[in-house]
């Protein structure tokens, strides 16, 4: 599967190390929330980057990219009019249908908000499909919070509960400080009728699942999105093997029950 070139038509700085790129898709580009693309800045290499745009808007491909290595640094250097190679979409999706009629609880940590943003868009655009909508978003510091304008808009809605917490802040910060997991005990949802999407660093996800379980959310109602070194994206190369699963092919979104036995194991 060869990369298809797409033109960069918008570039936005989200934080000091994170940008959002919008690629023109004149023939349309359909995907499901939670899926990812392989992005190829020509001559540098490929990197798996989650799609962070609205799935209802198929004329643009949106990616939010944190600068963490050679490929993502090259993606950061792209300017309007430049082209980038795209393979995808790949991977499993957040189970939006399974969440219908239930309280949808989304817990996102750090840049993990990007892969789950399409699910947020879909849920808020089709709000009547779900009961409560709860988004708990954690970041390192206030300056690490991405999509700040949108998060503010989401917080102002009467039909959504959106809570944000940062790990550390100066005394001029007016928001909540502490790990995102501490927001779970008092979040307004019915654990017997909730489905939870969790995404962030693996340790954060483990502790988040523990808190959700403490609230009484059944294990099989929890979904997590895994991150591994994905190279081929079609389950051939084995770089992203996780136990008997391939994250690129069987994930990246997994039911927690399917992967929970691997999570505490080193070197999986």
């Amino acid at each position: 599967m060869a990369p298809v070139p797409y033109e960069v038509v918008a570039k936005r700085r989200e934080t000091y190390d994170t940008i959002t790129l919008e690629l023109d898709a004149p023939d349309g580009f359909e995907f499901r929330p939670g899926q990812f693309n392989m992005l190829y800045p020509f001559g540098i290499g490929e990197s798996a980057i989650s799609i962070s745009g609205d799935p209802a808007k198929t004329d643009r491909i949106v990616h939010t990219i944190r600068n963490v290595g050679a490929v993502t640094a090259a993606l950061h250097r792209l300017e309007l009019g430049d082209y980038v190679g795209v393979r995808g979409p790949f991977g499993t999706a957040w189970p939006m249908e399974a969440a219908e009629g239930k309280d949808l609880v989304i817990v996102a940590g750090g840049i993990g908000i990007a892969p789950v943003r399409p699910a947020i868009y879909e849920a808020l655009n089709q709000r009547e499909r779900f009961d409560q909508f709860v988004l708990l978003y954690g970041a390192r510091t206030p300056s690490d919070l991405v999509y700040q304008g949108e998060v503010k808009d989401w917080r102002s809605r009467f039909d959504a509960v959106v809570d944000v917490s940062v790990d550390s802040a100066g005394s001029d910060y007016r928001g909540s400080v502490g790990v995102v997991t501490r927001l779970i005990p008092n979040a307004p949802f019915d654990p017997d009728n909730a489905i939870a999407f969790v995404i962030g660093p693996e340790i954060m996800m483990r502790f988040t699942v523990t808190e959700l379980r403490n609230r009484g959310v059944p294990r099989d109602q929890i979904y997590i999105s895994m991150e591994r070194n994905m190279q081929c994206a079609v389950g051939f190369c084995g770089h992203c093997q996780f136990g008997n699963l391939f994250v690129c092919h069987d994930g990246a979104v997994f039911n927690y029950d399917a992967v929970r036995s691997y999570l505490p194991v080193k070197e999986v």
């Binding site: 917490s165 790990d167 550390s168 100066g170 005394s171 005990p185 008092n186 340790i203």
Partner: protein, 157 residues
Amino acid sequence: MSEDLDITAELGRHSFMKGVSEEVVTRIGACADGVASWGEDEMIFRSGGEATKCYLIQSGEVAIEVYSPGTGSRIVQTVSRGEVLGWSWLFEPYVWSFDARVLTPATAIVLDGEAIRHCMNDEPNLGYPMMVRFARLIVGRLQATRLQLLDLYASRN
């Protein structure tokens, strides 16, 4: 400090007391000073001060801060509705370790620390369930602090 409220009923509705028997709630209610409210930026207590009260937050957001010469104050955690502010009244030398500053107007049930200590000490049927709750609270804060120390969201490159 409001004294008109039914403090026992207020206490029974607070998350921290969930699962506690009515009898224990009534006994702890007898140790309450009432419900207090604070405005933005008011200090509830300061580091080094005598720790005599326990605060069960009902509304608003309170910052637990530490001051470092040269870098100023840092917020190490905030507490809000359903959470508990302060446990230094429980252990000697009963001195606050941090500052508590109100970020958004807050109300809290205020319990008298010394009175609760005596109750918990004299009445094991009350002391044990309360101590379990405070231990759970402290373990939760310890785990949260460990996660903060791990700096989970930091770049690894």
